[in-house]
Amino acid sequence: MASVVLSEAEKVYIMHGVQEDLRVDGRGCEDYRCIEVETDVVSNTSGSARVKLGHTDILVGVKAEMGTPKLDRPNEGYLEFFVDCSANATPEFEGRGGEELGTEIANTLYRIFNNESSIDLKLLCINPRENCWVLYVDVLLLECGGNLFDAISVAVKAALFNTRIPKVRVLEEEGGREIELSDDPFDCIRLNVDNVPCIVTLSKIGYRHIVDATLQEEACSLASLLISVTSRGTLTCMKKVGRGSLDPESIFEMMETGKRVGKLLHSSLQTVLDEEEKLGSARKKVGFLG
């Protein structure tokens, strides 16, 4: 992963700041940086979102394609995640450099969606055993500025909120079934994203833990706990990342903090998404020019 090299003095400076609940950029331990979210930025997708969190820049596109349901889940559609680490983010990602990080992030995304309540997959079924919608979620990492996982999960949630899947009808004929697409392009189904979880990464620095670490802070932290929280405060995934170990008591504290921070993150994200939705077509798109 993209990382910076810090001197001992710089690390001590950051660690002492965290101890006093004052970070280098003036935030407290449980504060996020300012998040910019814009949905519907790529017109060729079924849903898309771009999220900027500090210097971290993520673009997510969701494409709905028709496929066959998985054998063990005949009346459900499914999600596929692909993460592409652009070489624009850091020269390390050139060639196949970003592949390892990409699969790690994609696996984490599979893990946080690996339960029945996050998304109603039955809605994506068209014809049991035969046809279903497959949502290809493509994550493009444009810039790394720390806290990738949180930013990506926010972007994925925003993109899923924005996703519009065309309505189809199944016609029974003597020669078999036929699928008919609705004539009205605005006749589409929306996904319910209330239970889509967001990732909160808590990095242990010294004796305290912080949320939304910058690259510099990540360099000071040896271990962090990644949890995914839904808007109702339930956890769907829990994972230790990094090469250090954690004290059991601090894990319990981090889980409580993560739940609190995650709920707040969800509610503010939902307000922003609803506000943007209300503007409708009158909204001025910022895109990549802003």
């Binding site: 040896l222 706990l225 954690l246 004290d247």
Partner: protein, 234 residues
């Protein structure tokens, strides 16, 4: 080849010459949670978790299905335990091969890899002990070390790895519908308790292995093992 003038033609990361001083020169050793000073030119340790194609039930698993994730979990859980600073310019290869999945595969692999590292005489801060847990659907109880059918039917799964004498959690990986944080916290506590109960057993088996070896060869010979494949039969 045309040169890229926008980039500084130098190393991507600059490092202080102090970093290249062999860490063995200093007597003060870094604490387990502290930054382990390693020679930056040293090779990275390699951790690998592979599953035999016939290890699971049902359809033959694709080889690259979940292996990268489990390998990473193996690495992140074992790295805190190994005193990597003592092995500059060395590579420790740990490869676990899952022959038959009878449930709690990752936990078994972690225990086996920890034991194999200790058996190979690699310096460790502590042994790694791991436990798997799963929770039945619809608000069920958390079960320790589930079997394969239990694991398949479970709504949530969790693997906890512990360094028992230091009381540090070195690995944690879980997902599913586990409910509120309290329920997960309960699961972690149960898992840690399970690890503590498993610890004497692993210690005994290590002791037995050493005794057997000393009995075989009257004087203990120092053996170097570069690659040790801990075969996991869960």
């Amino acid at each position: 080849m045309p040169l890229d003038h926008r980039r500084v033609p130098g190393p991507e990361e600059s490092q202080a010459p102090l970093l290249f001083v062999p860490s063995g020169a200093k007597e003060s050793e870094p604490p387990p949670a502290g930054a382990a000073h390693r020679d930056p030119t040293a090779l990275q340790p390699l951790f690998e978790f592979r599953r035999a194609p016939f290890s699971g039930r049902g359809a033959r698993g694709r080889p690259s299905d979940r292996e990268p994730e489990l390998s990473l979990a193996l690495q992140e859980a074992l790295e805190p335990a190994v005193r990597l600073a003592r092995y500059p310019r060395a590579q420790v290869d740990v490869s676990a091969l899952l022959l038959q999945d009878g449930g709690s595969a990752l936990a078994a692999a972690l225990c086996a890899a920890g034991l194999a590292l200790a058996d190979a005489g690699i310096e460790l801060y502590d042994l790694v002990v791991a436990c798997a847990l799963c929770r039945a659907p619809s608000e069920g109880e958390w079960l320790l070390q589930p079997s394969e059918p239990e694991e398949r039917a479970a709504a949530a799964r969790l693997t906890v790895a512990l360094l028992p004498s230091l009381n540090q959690v070195s690995g944690l990986l879980g997902s599913g519908e586990g409910g509120p944080p309290d329920s997960w916290a309960q699961a972690v506590r149960l898992g840690l308790d399970g690890c503590q109960r498993l610890y004497p057993l692993l210690r005994q088996s290590l002791l037995r292995a050493v005794k057997r070896r000393t009995a075989d060869t009257q004087e203990p010979s120092e053996r170097e093992e570069a690659v040790e494949p801990p075969v996991v039969t869960a």
